[in-house]
Subunit: 152 residues, 2 copies
Amino acid sequence: MDELPGSVGTSASFSLRLGQTIFSSASLLFMSMGVEFYSYTAFCYLVTIMGLVIPWSFTLALVDGYSVLVRRPIRQQGVLIIIVVGDWVLSILTLAAACSSASVIDVLLHSGGSNCPPKFCSRYQVSAAMAFLAWFLSSATSLFNFWLLSSL
Amino acid sequence: MDELPGSVGTSASFSLRLGQTIFSSASLLFMSMGVEFYSYTAFCYLVTIMGLVIPWSFTLALVDGYSVLVRRPIRQQGVLIIIVVGDWVLSILTLAAACSSASVIDVLLHSGGSNCPPKFCSRYQVSAAMAFLAWFLSSATSLFNFWLLSSL
């Protein structure tokens, strides 16, 4: 069969994974450098999920890089199922975390005053934006791999 | 090809669509009967999205019911693509709305006091729970139809 761009073991997939790793790390850093993140459940949740996404994306980036180098894309159904399910679950969790954080930030901005000093609030916003980008890339890889799986 | 349970035009799909319609209507009702929903962006967003999901699910429930009655499942690729994309977009929006509302409710519950009278807060909670159920059913139909589309 033709190689599907974006499915596991291609260079497009490698770029997507690298993007996920970078955006989720950025989201984690911006959130945890703002020292008061543990006072809101949504922010703790975002940090937890980003802590799951980073190793997952990084590992798969390594796998993709390796299989691009040796020019042997992965086509085992079992491996693909694990990757698709993992990606799908993580992309849902990432979206949930990003939306929760964004709406908490919105409430904080509207309540104003001491709840949201400008320095922290802009960090929270950048963090949520990065989480949205990580979700977007993650759902893209999930869709590509699902398509590949169903056409095997 | 064999008929895939849950894909468009089957009785399983009809039940899923009916479930979506019921849960999203319940979510909309619980949220708009609590009269202060317009003071939070996340709640307005939930109401908007539910207003989109209800007609979409109801129309497709009618289509499914009709094609179960005449025993002719839909297999046109163009129609399937529209249904899959619509389902996918709406399920993402529903999840985003449910998570945002849930996290705003969490903030309101923790801030306590006059922000969240028990009568309203429990309504908000039920509404968010119903939105999560609607999302679950919606993503299920989206996956089934995507699988059918890729195997056509």
